[in-house]
């Protein structure tokens, strides 16, 4: 164990700002990306469900010479 106390841990031997700045921002941005992604996925699915309800007859699927 490297750390005697919580404040020791936060202090990071004088590098607290830099270390926590790196880890904090990384965590924050990754969480943000995940959250934005979930929201977008939900919104797209909702939109399509709505369209499906309004126009129940599905369009002919076209697979156009591509896999």
């Amino acid at each position: 164990m490297n750390w005697g106390s919580i404040s020791d841990f936060l202090h990071m031997g004088g590098y607290g700002l830099y270390v926590w700045g790196s880890f904090g921002v990384t965590l924050l941005l990754l969480a943000l990306e995940t959250a934005l992604l979930s929201r977008r996925a939900g919104r797209v699915a909702d939109e399509i469900r709505q369209r499906t309800q309004n126009a129940p007859a599905p369009l002919k699927p076209r697979h156009t010479g591509q896999h």
């Binding site: 164990m1 490297n2 750390w3 841990f9 990071m12 031997g13 004088g14 590098y15 830099y18 270390v19 700045g21 790196s22 880890f23 921002v25 990384t26 941005l29 990754l30 990306e33 995940t34 992604l37 979930s38 977008r40 996925a41 797209v44 699915a45 939109e47 399509i48 469900r49 369209r51 499906t52 599905p58 369009l59 699927p61 076209r62 010479g65 591509q66 896999h67």
Partner: protein
């Protein structure tokens, strides 16, 4: 047994597979990150030269590796998309770009935070840093190019072509900046001095790198799913899939 490489290149199958794999990889990423952070903060010893500040490498090195690796993967999927014309390859290439750009930004950010206490400067024109910055520009250019083109097919192919041109250029850029740098500054300070690293440090870094991998896979699969829905939301399979999801 003959393997059908194109089995999962059918959008419905891919959509279903990605839906199953993405949460798995998210969980894996969380697990690995926890383990990696534990190793990094509680097991790895203090560096005798850099003190506790070196612990930034546990996030910096994985995101830097990932940022470069993702670009290669994008180029790979782009080449696949141009040659095989598989729709999934294009969606995958598109899905990776934001994550790659994010990692590149984080690499620069953490690099600056590491450099300030160690070198006394937020930024030095080191070959790796400069290449990383240019990599960020390439990612931004890819996103801007996609945003500027309305026609999806043209956007796909234009981005694929640009990604391939970019991947040819990245090593040239790295080499040229390195050349320039050695002329101007002499040998640069090395960020990762593998030989002098304690094995626990290396282990922590590798676990964190694996976590970044898992995170990238999870995010890109999830984004690919969303993109696929946006593109083909009106097709029969998407409707069936969504009806199934709602139940």
């Amino acid at each position: 047994m003959k393997i059908n490489w194109f089995y999962f290149s059918s959008p419905p199958r891919f959509y279903a597979l990605a839906g199953r794999l993405s949460p798995l990889f998210f969980a894996l990423a969380l697990l690995l990150a926890t383990l990696g952070l534990y190793l990094g903060f509680f097991v790895a010893p203090t560096d005798f030269q850099q003190g506790e500040g070196y612990r930034i490498i546990f996030v910096h090195v994985p995101v830097s590796w990932m940022s470069m690796f993702i670009y290669l993967v994008i180029a790979f999927w782009s080449a696949m998309a141009l040659v095989m014309k598989t729709r999934i390859s294009m969606v995958m290439a598109q899905a990776l770009v934001p994550t790659g750009a994010l990692f590149t930004f984080l690499s620069l950010w953490t690099g600056a935070l590491w450099g300030k206490p160690m070198w006394g400067a937020w930024w030095v024109w080191d070959a790796r840093l400069t290449s990383e910055l240019i990599l960020l520009f390439l990612y931004l250019a890819l996103m801007a190019l996609r945003a500027a083109i309305d026609d999806e097919r043209r956007a796909d192919r234009a981005c694929a072509l640009f990604a391939l041109v970019g991947v040819v250029n990245v090593p040239v850029i790295y080499f040229s900046v390195k050349w320039w740098n050695t002329l101007h500054q002499g040998a640069s300070v090395s960020l990762t001095r593998a030989p002098s690293m304690a094995s626990t440090m290396l282990a922590g870094m590798l676990v964190m790198a694996l976590a970044a991998w898992a995170y990238t896979i999870a995010t890109s699969l999830k984004r690919a799913r969303t993109l696929l829905l946006e593109r083909e939301g009106d097709s029969e399979w998407a409707r069936r899939q969504l009806a199934g999801d709602a139940r």
